[in-house]
Subunit: 197 residues, 2 copies
C-alpha cells in the first residue's frame, strides 16, 4: 500500500510509548503531510539528540552534556543526593520542582528473576559520592514495589560505610486520591504515618 520507507517509519513509530500500530500510521501520515514543518525538523532533532546524548558520569542522568544539566547547575544543593531507579524518575521529580539537590540514577532495581545483582547497578559509585563530606543526606526515591524496596534495603546497608542520614519518600494517600479506590497497603501506611494537625 505504501513504499517500504514509509512502512519502516510506521513500524519504528509504533515502538514509541503511547503509540500503537494504528496511531503510528496516523503519525506517519501527519509527518508526510507536514514534511517541512514537522518531518524534517523532527528527523534533524533526533539525529542531533542521537549524536549528543550521553550518560552523566556523575549521576547517571541522560542528557546532552556530561556532567548533566542538573549536576552542572551551581545553584543546586550539593548536600543532598536523591537516589532514583532511572532517568525517567529523575525527570518526574524535576517536574515537581520540589527537590533542589543532586540525583543518583541506579540504572534499575535488584531483581533475582532478571539476574540483576548489586554490581549491575551504580551502588558503589553512590557510596563513593556519599563519602564526600559535603553530602549530608541521601533520599531513597525508589518505586514502592517489591524490587524497589529490596533495592532500598541493600542501598541502605551499603551506605552504612558513609556518614550520611538516609531517608525515603513518604508512603500515603496520593494528593487528589479517593480513599475508596486505594489498596489496603497504602491505607495502612497512611494510617501508620498519620501526622498531627
Amino acid at each position: 500500500m505504501v513504499g517500504p520507507e514509509i512502512e519502516r517509519l510506521i513500524q519504528l513509530l509504533a515502538r514509541l510509548p503511547g503509540l500503537g500500530p494504528r496511531s503510528a500510521r496516523r503519525a506517519a501520515l501527519l509527518l508526510m503531510k507536514r514534511r517541512d514543518g514537522l518531518l524534517v525538523p523532527l528527523s534533524e532533532a533526533m539525529a542531533l539528540a542521537a549524536e549528543a546524548v550521553r550518560t552523566c558520569s556523575v549521576c547517571g542522568n541522560l542528557d546532552t552534556r556530561d556532567p548533566c544539566t542538573v549536576c552542572a547547575d551551581p545553584s543546586r544543593d550539593r548536600s543532598t543526593i536523591c537516589v532514583v531507579e532511572d532517568a525517567g524518575d529523575l525527570w518526574a521529580l524535576e517536574r515537581s520542582r520540589a527537590f533542589t539537590g543532586l540525583y543518583h540514577v541506579l540504572g534499575g532495581t535488584l531483581s533475582a528473576l532478571q539476574g540483576i545483582g548489586p554490581d549491575d547497578l551504580t551502588i558503589a559509585a553512590l557510596v563513593d559520592r556519599a563519602r564526600n563530606p559535603e553530602v549530608r543526606e541521601v533520599i531513597l526515591a525508589l518505586n514502592a514495589t517489591v524490587d524497589g524496596q529490596t533495592t532500598a534495603h541493600v542501598v541502605t546497608d551499603r551506605l552504612a560505610q558513609a556518614d550520611v542520614a538516609i531517608s525515603r519518600l513518604a508512603h500515603g494517600v496520593p494528593v487528589g486520591g479517593e480513599l475508596d479506590y486505594l489498596d489496603d497497603g497504602t491505607l495502612t501506611a497512611a494510617l501508620k504515618a498519620r501526622r498531627p494537625l
Copy 2:
C-alpha cells in the same frame, strides 16, 4: 533540566497525534535509553522518508514513488475511482481491503469558513480522469459531515461533464454498533435505506 536538543526533541514529538507533552517526554526518554536500537534507526527512517515522500501526480496519495504504489499496481481495477478527502482516508479504505480500484485524493473539503473553494481542491483533475473512457464509476467516499456532503454535491455536479456512474458510501448502523448509542440522523438514514432480507 535537560539540554536544549532534548527539549526541542520533546516539543516536536508532542506534536505527533496521540502524544501529549507528558507522553512525548516518556517517548524522548525511551529514545535516549535505546539510542542504537530505536533513536538512530527512527532518525534515519525519517530522513529517508523526508527525502523520498512525494504526492502522487495521478491520484494525490502520499508515497515514496510517483505514481504511487496503488496507481502503479497493474492488478488494480482501473474502471472505478474512489474519491476521498485526504490520504488518511485512502489508507483507511486500503486497510479494509474492500476496494480494488483507484483513488482520487481531493486534498480537503470545500469550506466557506476556511475559504476553501473548488479551485483549491483537485476537482478539475478528477473530472479529467473521469473522462477517460476506461473509467465507468466514481465512488464518493467523503466524510459524512456538512462540509463533506457539500463537497460531494459540487463534485457530482462537475462530474456531469463525464460519462460515469456516481455513487456514494452507504449510511447506516456501524458494524458492531449499538442502536442505543446512535444519533437520530444515523438511525433515520439506516431506516430509510433498509434492505430486504
